[in-house]
């Protein structure tokens, strides 16, 4: 079902951009033509900014907890850390599977015939918000594990409907930028979260290392985190519209069978395949940081700053690279993003040392995320009809997440067998092959857009 290129056809457009609604922007977009007709507010619609704000606020809340949870478990409760990592990995895999369910549920119709993206997302955000006050009462490992599992279920449920809403609220030619804006806001929240947590611990008066069973500093963190999470849910309920562009026209509710047949769409199938293959060769963040520290000779006390470096680059590059994706093609940039990651691997394998090399690797790593994370969702949205947007986005996202999880296990095994550097060299070779393959498979002859 090839429909003409969105740039030449009249794509489903939000009501705000109906003819005669306001003058054309004096600053025409560089990709010009019809794209420039949409005013700036159509390029990044209010719904996307609202969803970005929800993600920003929610990420502050959840990263507050993530930042203190290891400290809390070790020193607040005096628990042993063994096994925590495996639990964490399993729950991430579980969350990826829940995402499929979230995508499917979100595409189903409510009583008014509209898809239930907002309702499913609200349940997802709500579940996670509920978990923060529960942490005040969970004092044993199994209970904390259960609370974290519910939190991950919420995260899994909300991801696909949220991305579907972003894509449905945006004109197709501006999706890359819209996802860029969302991911930048999301990352800003992830950066602010730990800062907020340590500020609260500091204001609560105790040393961060509140060992000896004193947990009230942590209680303050969990309470503040719960308040911020509740605020995120409220912003979603108040400011994100229930009906979005391209959503209300559908009559039939997609069934589970329709969800499976999504893979028959050639565009989506190819994208999913490439996302999985590239995901299988994407070394997980913790391994990458470990290699940065060891190969580039970084002082161990700078180790906790490495994720911040990646996040900062991601934050700064998400919007410009999203806009670039709109111009040169999302699939092309998605592939190019992995080529950037390959550059980072190359730099790690080179004999270069020291801080400049570290900064370069982190910038490349952040650029990789900026060129692939939101861009993949935007590319997937191009390939899926609006009434199955949630399920389609979930399929690609889950495929990628599970592939990355498998890569973690494989890379760990490879590391123990042949050492970190050799394992990275092998990964780089495999990634190079996958990038070449993706470049061949993911050409952009005519973007498939369904209306």
């Amino acid at each position: 079902m090839y429909v003409a290129d969105s740039r030449r056809s009249k794509a489903p457009v939000a009501p705000a951009t109906a003819p005669g609604h306001g003058p054309a922007s004096p600053c025409q977009e560089a990709d010009g033509g019809h794209g420039g007709r949409a005013a700036l507010r159509a390029a990044v619609p209010g719904a996307v900014v609202a969803l970005g704000a929800v993600s920003l606020v929610t990420d502050i809340s959840s990263e507050m907890v993530s930042a203190v949870l290891p400290l809390y478990l070790l020193t607040g409760l005096g628990l042993s850390p063994l096994g925590f990592g495996l639990l964490d990995g399993l729950q991430n895999g579980f969350s990826a599977l829940v995402r499929l369910a979230g995508g499917h549920l979100a595409d189903r119709r409510g009583g008014d015939g509209a898809a239930r993206h907002k309702a499913v997302a609200a349940v997802g955000y709500g579940l996670s918000a509920l978990c923060k006050p529960l942490l005040l009462f969970a004092h044993t490992v199994p209970l904390i594990g259960a609370v974290i599992a519910v939190d991950r279920t919420g995260k899994g449920l909300r991801t696909a409907p949220r991305d579907a809403m972003i894509s449905l609220a945006t004109e197709p030619e501006h999706r890359g930028r819209a996802f860029g804006v969302h991911r930048a806001m999301d990352t800003a929240g992830a950066l602010l979260g730990p800062l907020t947590a340590f500020l609260v611990l500091r204001l609560a008066g105790g040393p961060l290392l509140a060992d000896g069973g004193e947990r009230h500093g942590y209680d303050a963190v969990f309470t503040v985190s719960a308040c911020i999470a509740a605020l995120g849910v409220l912003v979603l309920l108040l400011f994100v519209p229930s009906r979005l562009g391209g959503d209300a026209t559908s009559t039939s509710a997609p069934s589970l069978r329709d969800g499976l047949s999504l893979l028959r769409l050639p565009g989506l199938r190819r994208l999913t395949l490439c996302a999985v293959l590239l995901g299988l060769t994407t070394v997980s963040d913790s391994f990458l940081y470990l290699l940065v520290q060891r190969r580039l000779g970084l002082a161990t006390d700078l180790f906790p700053l490495l994720p911040l470096g990646t996040a900062a680059a991601f934050l700064l590059l998400a919007v410009p690279l999203g806009a670039l994706a709109d111009r040169i093609g999302r699939r092309r940039l998605f592939t190019a993003g992995h080529a950037v990651l390959l550059l980072a691997y190359g730099l790690l394998l080179s004999p270069l040392h020291g801080l400049p090399a570290t900064v370069c690797v982190l910038v490349l790593h952040g650029a990789f995320y900026a060129a692939t994370d939101g861009v993949l969702a935007a590319a997937a949205a191009d390939a899926v009809p609006a009434e199955q947007r949630g399920a389609g986005l979930a399929l690609v996202g889950t495929g990628q997440a599970l592939a990355r999880f498998a890569c973690s296990l494989l890379f760990g095994a490879l590391w123990s067998a042949v050492g970190g550097t050799t394992a990275l060299a092998w990964s780089a070779g495999a990634l190079a092959l996958c990038v070449l393959g993706a470049a061949a498979v993911l050409r952009e002859p005519a973007r498939e857009v369904s209306s």
Partner: protein, 344 residues
């Protein structure tokens, strides 16, 4: 909610921000208030006064030095009590430590330095007057520390988050320094491992809880593939050799014949799996002690006959003792104390 006018929505949001902000602020203030109370001495707590604390052999009797956890101005300071009157008045040194151990006139003190937003940690080697001789930055939260009987070697273990295999896992890093020439072995994981008689390599090796036999030989915990082992380490040949399974936080008896340790006992809850055992190194026989509670500490030998260890208490931790031969019963030594070492 889409029917609401924009002004109404903003108003609702504003009210919610004020309400949630009030709850959050209240929680922080409440926590700060409880923290402030820790600076006031509590009724019934041991008396703590400033004074000189020395790691030299005292003229009369032994001293017990530990981190004082009683609320009041001397909280978290190293304090000394006569070993025969452990519950008596405490002499506070003014030196803050999270973990501490001392032997042969040398002390090792693991400290937190509070930054604006983040805490950093360091290992400080102390002389016999608790003066800093040299300090080393460490990459995470301190957990164990030991000095060799001669006072020539000091070892410490910290938790390192991120330096690990999958996701948000943790790992430990254990370092040993020679205080005579400051030769630092930053990471014992770089030593060659001999496991069950064969060379062994793995990505997931963790080492913690050193206890010294002399200035070359030590014992420690080695964890890999989900199991823990007792290893004997050799500093000169840079090797670690496994001796026994399911041993954590070993503590060598003064005569060097037995090791007290945490054993993960099958059937116990996951969050409280350890009991205190003693292993005879000559026969490799294990003896459970009379202590029936979960132990998460590296015990100290009071002499060749009894063990001293910390258990959670009202003010963080209390010190308890139990005979090493499996007989007798556990007995509380003093409250609000952790990380003890005998001096003299």
């Amino acid at each position: 909610m889409n029917q609401l006018r924009n002004r109404t929505r903003v108003l609702i949001l504003l009210i919610a921000v004020l309400l949630l902000g009030a709850v959050g602020t209240g929680a922080v203030l409440h926590a700060a208030d409880r923290t402030a109370r820790r600076d006031q001495a509590q009724p019934g707590a041991p008396a703590v006064d400033s004074g000189d604390v020395s790691l030299q052999k005292p003229t009369s009797g032994r001293q017990l030095v530990f981190r004082n956890m009683a609320w009041g101005p001397h909280r978290d300071e190293l304090t000394a009590v006569p070993a025969d009157r452990p519950d008596g008045p405490r002499t506070a040194s003014g030196v803050h430590c999270l973990r501490f151990h001392a032997a042969g006139g040398t002390g090792i003190c693991l400290q937190a330095e509070h930054g604006a937003l983040d805490d950093t940690y360091r290992a400080v080697v102390l002389d016999d007057h608790l003066k800093e001789k040299r300090s080393f930055p460490v990459a995470g939260i301190p957990t164990r520390s030991r000095v060799s009987p001669s006072g020539h070697l000091a070892a410490w273990t910290v938790f390192v988050s991120g330096d690990s295999y999958a996701g948000t896992n943790f790992s430990t890093r254990t370092s040993v320094v020679d205080v005579r020439d400051w030769n630092l072995r930053d990471n014992l994981e770089s030593f060659d491992i001999v496991k069950d008689g064969r060379p062994y390599q793995a990505h997931d090796v963790n080492i913690w809880g050193v206890t010294f036999a002399d200035d070359n030989t030590f014992y420690a915990t080695l964890a890999t593939a989900g199991r823990t082992h007792l290893v004997r380490g050799d500093l000169a040949s840079r090797t670690l050799t496994t001796l026994h399974d399911n041993v954590e936080c070993p503590s060598l008896s003064p005569d060097g014949t037995r090791v007290a340790y945490k054993k993960r006992v099958p059937g116990l809850p996951d969050d409280a799996p350890w009991r205190l055992y003693v292993l005879d190194l000559a026969t490799m026989t294990e003896t459970p002690t009379a202590e029936q509670r979960d132990i998460d500490d590296q015990a100290v030998w009071t002499d060749n006959g009894a063990l001293l260890y910390a258990l959670p208490g009202d003010y963080g931790a209390d010190l308890w003792t139990v005979p090493a031969d499996g007989g007798g019963a556990a007995r509380r030594v003093t409250g609000a104390a952790v990380a003890p070492a005998y001096v003299g």
